[in-house]
Symmetry: C2
């Protein structure tokens, strides 16, 4: 029996490790489902003082339990709330009602948030030797957040290459960046992602409000996909 | 009197705002002295669970008092200690004795630390509208840390450009990156930087140990510059 047989066995027994940035929301849950197909998961959740953190962390842990993930890291990035400048972290700023055609940077933009999240992920990846970092950033059909654009991730990949040990190789993977919300939901169903465990609302920790930007994008996505969103809402406006 | 007169007056009365990443150490103190010549200072200190944090924070505040800085931000990046992988944050790893000719990445390297620090700085800069971020990274005569190389800062500048609001302009400034430690000390004296307030030791919070990497680089720098280091040491080996 050739030696390579054992290597193949060992590889199939222990898939490579990948970090998935998991907010507890729908997009990152679908990304976790995708990464799970080829990798052992390490899930990273960042608390940055957002209004609905308690509910998001619950969703994160339920998704991690679903995939039986042992490598979990919950990072406190409270400085993003200290610094402020976003309706997501500053109680004095109002979460604006949904405007799905908005082309501006919305009030929920947390300045340079994703660079803060990715930096923590890369530090962790370098220590646990994860070769990939998956992030559920979405450019198409989303937000106007500058740190969700492909060009930002291309630039960050170069920072990883230059800012880590010479032997470190960490690939940044953005598998749904060009997808529509409806496309992400269909993909999630196809990959049996536990969408019923996810939380997206920016405003409420009980039933989702149904009216903030995040709820509106999510509800419209389910409506466009012709599927009923399995989570409870206070109100389910028609966004299509 | 032409209108531009008032603009000029106003500009000279309020110099532009710049963030300086200030550990409390010698390098960043000299960088603060440089930035102070042309900018109002906003000082950012990051606690990442390093052994000597209490002493470093004291030095940070004394330097901030010296320059009468109103804009101060102390950020907790405890996740870097949670993640580990460095003798600076992990009590089970030994801080190696100085090896000034070492070409390897030393045990005190905190994985991807400077990207974490810079990300927080950029978030703050975007909110307080600081146009520059100064960091006292030193490539020459230093450490072997990958995230102290010019190529890393060039890559990070691109991340700032792509990851912030369209109207945001934040320049990354590394004014001492090519300097030797002796050169930095001479520059500090020339700019009247309060070097007696700084703290560099990786290991001790009372008198500096004199033997860790950081002490060794500092002592050798003062010895090469022909100046006596004003802070107390347990031992002052001859490194020249």
């Amino acid at each position: 029996m050739p030696a390579c047989y054992y290597r193949t066995m060992s590889e199939s027994k222990y898939p490579p490790l990948a970090i998935v940035l998991a907010s507890g929301g729908l997009d990152s849950c679908v990304v976790a489902a995708l990464a799970h197909e080829t990798h052992r998961l390490a899930l990273l959740h960042v608390n940055y003082g957002q209004r609905t953190e308690t509910r998001e962390l619950q969703a994160f842990n339920e998704i991690a339990n679903h995939y039986q993930v042992r490598h979990r890291l919950v990072v406190d990035h409270k400085h993003l709330a200290q610094i402020g400048g976003s309706s997501l972290t500053d109680e004095t700023l109002e979460v604006s009602a949904a405007d799905l055609d908005n082309q501006e940077v919305p009030s929920s933009y947390v300045p340079f948030r994703n660079a803060n999240l990715l930096s923590a992920a890369v530090s962790w990846a370098e220590v646990i030797r994860a070769g990939k970092i998956f992030i559920g950033a979405v450019h198409e059909d989303a937000s106007g957040y500058p740190d969700c654009r492909p060009v930002f991730y291309e630039a960050f990949a170069k920072v990883i290459e230059t800012g880590t040990r010479p032997g470190t190789r960490i690939e940044l993977v953005t598998p749904i960046i060009d997808q529509s919300k409806a496309g992400i939901i269909r993909l999630g169903l196809d990959k049996q992602a536990p969408l019923h465990l996810t939380w997206s609302c920016y405003q409420s920790e009980a039933d989702a409000c149904g009216t903030c930007d995040s709820c509106a994008f999510r509800l419209r996505g389910f409506q466009q996909a012709g599927i009923e969103d399995p989570i409870p809402y206070q109100t389910r406006p028609d966004y299509v």
